[in-house]
């Protein structure tokens, strides 16, 4: 019973979120709920605000007004409370952002040791398991610059997973990758989704969206224009804006 009520609360909820960059209105009245175990894929033309929305969820971007709730609790504005909340949300960036001076293993153990207070020995054991899971265990002693983009991004995913996050955000995780490396990263994400991870994925990979998403959100000009199940959205988009977008990316 207690479990049920807890699962009724969305892991992530945005209410009437507004944001401007100067004169540019980048987020307009964004309302969104992500349930436990749900995979939400956000698509839309560049400049539609989808990355910005993704980054507001752990407050890498501040918002002008509205509310962001994590498991029903408002996102703290700053300080230790914010840091503690961020520790519970994973974030994977377009440009990997691994720590350049640390080894792959140290990249994955930093958070568990310094933030969660885990013992080095335990953190390293867990890190090696995660690195093996994403297929880069043999690279553990190297530094990021020695790895390919695809390998770096898989390490970045392992780094997030090491924090046992409640949800993970992916901000265009394959956009900076060479084509032949995209699938190795998507495969890891598919496996995560199947394992029940709550995910918000901003991406241009429509096949991934169709295959893995529980729900697709289409954004344009800072607004959520349309949302629905992937098959329904891709086969019968309800709005002209979405039809134009889907047409523009088809046929190559």
């Amino acid at each position: 019973m207690t479990m049920d009520t807890r699962d009724d609360v969305p892991v992530i909820e945005l209410r009437h979120v507004e944001k401007h960059f100067g004169d540019l209105h980048v987020l307009r009245d964004i309302n969104l709920k992500v349930s436990r175990g749900e995979v939400l894929v956000v698509i839309g033309p560049s400049g539609s605000g989808k990355s910005t929305m993704c980054r507001t969820i752990n407050r890498l971007e501040t918002i002008d007004s509205g509310e962001i709730l994590i498991e029903g609790k408002p996102l703290p504005a700053e300080g230790r409370e914010l840091a503690a909340m961020r520790a519970e949300l994973g974030m994977v960036f377009q440009s990997f952002n691994l720590f350049a001076h640390k080894t792959i293993l140290e990249n994955v153990t930093l958070g568990p040791i310094d933030v969660l207070g885990m013992k080095r020995e335990d953190a390293e054991k867990r890190a090696m398991e995660l690195l093996a899971r994403v297929g880069v265990a043999e690279q553990a002693a190297k530094v990021p610059a020695q790895l390919s983009g695809g390998q770096q991004q898989r390490v970045a995913i392992a780094r997030s997973l090491a924090m046992n996050p409640k949800a993970m955000m992916f901000d265009e995780p394959t956009s900076a990758l060479d084509p032949e490396m995209i699938n190795e990263v998507l495969d890891v994400m598919v496996e995560l989704a199947r394992g029940g991870m709550t995910m918000v994925v901003v991406t241009h990979e429509m096949n991934f969206a169709r295959r893995v998403a529980d729900r697709v959100v289409f954004m344009a000009d800072g607004q959520i224009v349309e949302e629905g199940a992937p098959d329904e959205f891709f086969d019968h988009p309800a709005t002209q804006r979405a039809r134009d977008f889907l047409d523009s990316i088809k046929g190559h």
Binding site: R86, M91, N97, A100, G111, D114, V115, A145, S160
Partner: protein
């Protein structure tokens, strides 16, 4: 006075001068590094007053001639009932100037880190302090080895300000002034001292290059 006469009369004095220059340099540079880190942390802190103080510090001490700063410290500090001996005055002058340049070196090192790594660290839940300790300072230190090597040489040369005040034992340039007031060593007396500076700088430069190769961050 010829070379052999200069060396036989003042050889010991030169040697003491060189060693004095070395230890004044070492002491100054140790403080320069500590103060540079502190000033730099202020300049990147989230608190605006701290940032202002840090920026102001750099603007002031980067832009005052060393001799002028030394005069201020020697003659003005006693008015604040702070009387330092002459050697300490020279070292303090060197530290104040050196750390302004040192902070600039760190700032350019920090600029190479990129906002992405900082965002990744914030996303993991690291606090400002942890990010500074774990991500910013180690990378800034490692990418500032070459400019800091230059700064170490500059700090050594700045200790020559010691020739402007009475000190015992004197540092290398002070030794030359002393010799030239007593006898006619002329340019040769300076050349011997220059050899000490150039030799030391060459060793520092080599060591700096090796250290840089060892710790440089692959990007």
């Amino acid at each position: 006075m010829g070379l052999s006469e200069l060396l036989s009369t003042y050889g010991q004095l030169y040697l003491t001068g060189l060693v004095t220059t070395w230890w004044m340099t070492a002491v100054s540079f140790a403080f320069v590094m500590v103060l540079s880190v502190a000033i730099t942390v202020m300049r990147i802190s989230p608190l605006k007053p701290l940032r202002l103080v840090g920026d102001l510090y750099v603007q002031i001490f980067r832009n005052i001639p060393g001799v002028a700063l030394l005069v201020i410290i020697v003659y003005a500090l006693p008015n604040l009932r702070l009387v330092l001996d002459y050697r300490t005055c020279v070292i303090v002058t060197t530290i104040l100037m050196g750390s302004a340049f040192g902070s600039e070196n760190f700032m350019s090192g920090i600029n190479t880190i990129g906002v992405g790594q900082i965002e990744a660290a914030r996303s993991l839940g690291l606090t400002f302090r942890q990010i500074i300790q774990q991500i910013v300072i180690p990378q800034a230190l490692r990418s500032a080895v070459l400019p800091m090597t230059n700064l170490l040489i500059a700090v050594m040369l700045t200790t020559a300000l010691g020739s402007q005040v009475p000190m015992s034992p004197q540092e290398l340039t002070g030794v030359v002034s002393y010799i030239n007031t007593r006898s006619t060593g002329g340019i040769l007396a300076f050349l011997i001292a220059a050899l000490g500076y150039v030799g030391t700088a060459a060793v520092i430069g080599l060591a700096g290059n090796r250290l840089d190769k060892k710790v440089r961050i692959l990007r």
